[in-house]
Symmetry: C2
DNA sequence: TTGTATGCGTTATCAC
DNA sequence: GTGATAACGCATACAA
């Protein structure tokens, strides 16, 4: 393991100054004679030169890296987002540092600190912590931030929002349009604005239709975990089934819970959608793979990641960095877990 | 956006040398008087000091970062692996750069190059490319590499292997033990050693039982994609159904394909497991969420990630870095998609 | 115990 | 066109 070649090594071998080598190998537009260019490139290749970005970055005060903080990439929604981010980052020669916050504010701050120390200038974050003081401070120090999924009411933070409320409204309206009137809503703990918004959409649609809302909220607050949501869906479905006046349709706050609902219903001999219709929320691919394929609201995860990264890079590179909000629109994915009330058996 | 404070700024304000500041703030064991320590720490805090790791890393020639290259974190198997890696990395104050190679050798090399340039000393990789010359070269330059999932026959590369062959064998034996004799095997393109090994395990078990193997291989070679595997499963299941002598059990090379198989069977009115039993391979959580819950072979994804990262960090930090192989063992996850032939209806 | 000075690998500002 | 040299922020060998 010999130590790596530097521009100085190349300079010595080529009988030129390291300045010239730098100018050539960093593709600067500074004029260097064709002859020297070729010579230097040849020698660099011969010597297996690998530029040390640490040096370059220290000098130029950039890191060509962006940070991403999400609750957990185990969650297919976030893994799609990160996948989209990474794609755009790669196209622009940026690398991505992925951080799983596990919805732990302490971890979140730890990551932000590391990101700042590593001189990373851009961050895409789905933040969960209440105390945004470190984030705020970091922004003042020059960090460019795009918030996804979770709203951050902080000056200078651009948002990629998703119209959760409309999504909740659309889902409920869809169920209503199929003739359902006893529509249950199952949701994980209503402590995040996104969850609250979906619920508001549901409530609003029900109110509009002059119907009684039926909300089952899970009070537990475990760390983010797919199987946990699934189990929650099962539990809440159970509650709904036990009620004197069973709903004819159940709307779940995310797909994973909807899977749990469907599973529990099937297990209890309740047919989906013949007996009870089920709607999800997220539009992850697995919805296609279960039986029946899940009717759901599509949240554009992958595209959200791509967009977030594009906007972040613009912000990092742009002289003017206006703060902006983007509101992505929900889309109904009509599959087979919802049946018109008229066709119920 | 004022420019960040350095140890020099602090030194000036504290009327000490920057060396002393460095010694205090980097928690060096170099002796500094209690009084000065406190003074320096206080001023550092007042000035909102954030150490610039670029400087530190350039000086010490470390980067406290590891790289991870996997085909795609969209794949739940890999997202679990990466999640495990990230957990151990965090505990050790390392950050993780995540790269999705999309099974594209060009991209893979591009990432390796970037990793070297960023002075990253450790890499966990599921490599797909045939030409390992760049990787080999990087190892000689001091890169520590742990190969997961895909074997890399290169000197100095430690492997976290998984006994695919035994997994394939165990799955088939399980089916055999339930009395099945017409057992079909559906697999994506047999161009990766892991896929071949599973198939070999299947073939060996069949041969041992003196039974005729039935292998359906997909010839298409799309980029890694969950829905694609699902569709492949559907297609291959179809072929198997069309055969004159239908199998009573189908073993799929991964869970996603097994979902496709189950879906197609259900759609064609074939009941799982009453009419045909289905086995998967991977043990991803979603297997729990479908109906019937998928009997499968567990590949310890999350633990594999944790182990890989632990071994990598040992290797980076250890004076002696012996090359080693770890062979993780498959585990049967018995759920409800397999029925003894005697109980078939 | 503290300070001075040098260098990590690179780019940028000069001068030639 | 090219070269010498000074930064970038930090850690450390050496001096004091």
């Amino acid at each position: 393991m010999k130590k790596p070649t530097t521009i100085h090594d190349i300079a010595r071998k080529a009988n030129v100054s390291s300045a010239t080598v730098s100018r050539v190998l960093s593709n600067s537009d500074y004029p260097v004679s064709k002859a020297l260019q070729e010579k230097i490139r040849r020698i660099a290749a011969e010597m297996n030169y690998i530029p040390n970005l640490l040096g370059k970055q220290l000098k130029k005060n950039v890191s060509m890296t962006i940070g991403v903080i999400v609750p957990s990439i185990i969650n297919p929604f976030y893994s799609s987002v990160v996948f989209g981010i990474e794609e755009i980052a790669r196209e622009n020669h940026y690398t991505v540092v992925t951080c799983n916050s596990l919805q732990d504010p302490t971890l979140e701050d730890e990551y932000i600190r590391t990101i700042m120390e590593k001189q990373i200038k851009g961050l895409i974050i789905s933040s969960i912590s209440k105390d945004k003081s470190l984030l705020k401070n970091s922004i003042q120090m020059g960090l460019n931030v795009i918030a996804i999924d979770q709203t951050i009411e902080e000056e200078g933070v651009s948002q990629i929002k998703f119209d959760y409320r409309k999504g909740g409204y659309m889902a409920t309206k869809h169920l209503l349009s199929k003739g359902h009137s006893r529509i249950g809503y199952v949701t994980s703990r209503l402590d995040r604005p996104s969850r609250q918004s979906i619920c508001q959409g549901y409530l609003y649609a029900m109110k509009e239709a002059k119907l009684e809302p039926i909300v089952e909220e899970s009070k537990s607050e475990e760390l983010y975990n797919a199987v946990f949501d699934f189990d929650t869906g099962k539990k809440l479905a159970n509650k709904l089934l036990a009620a004197p006046d069973r709903p004819t349709a159940i709307f779940a706050c995310n797909d994973m819970m909807a899977f749990g609902v469907i599973n529990e219903l099937s297990q209890q001999g309740v047919k989906v959608p013949e007996d009870i219709s089920v709607m999800g929320f997220d539009g992850i691919d697995f919805g296609l793979m279960i039986h029946p394929p899940l009717t759901t609201i599509k949240q554009p995860d992958y595209d959200m990641g791509k967009l977030a990264c594009r906007l972040l890079l613009d912000k990092i590179n742009g002289e003017d960095s206006p703060t902006f909000d983007v509101m992505l629109q929900p889309k109904l994915l009509e599959r087979n877990s919802v049946l018109p009330i008229s066709e119920r058996v």
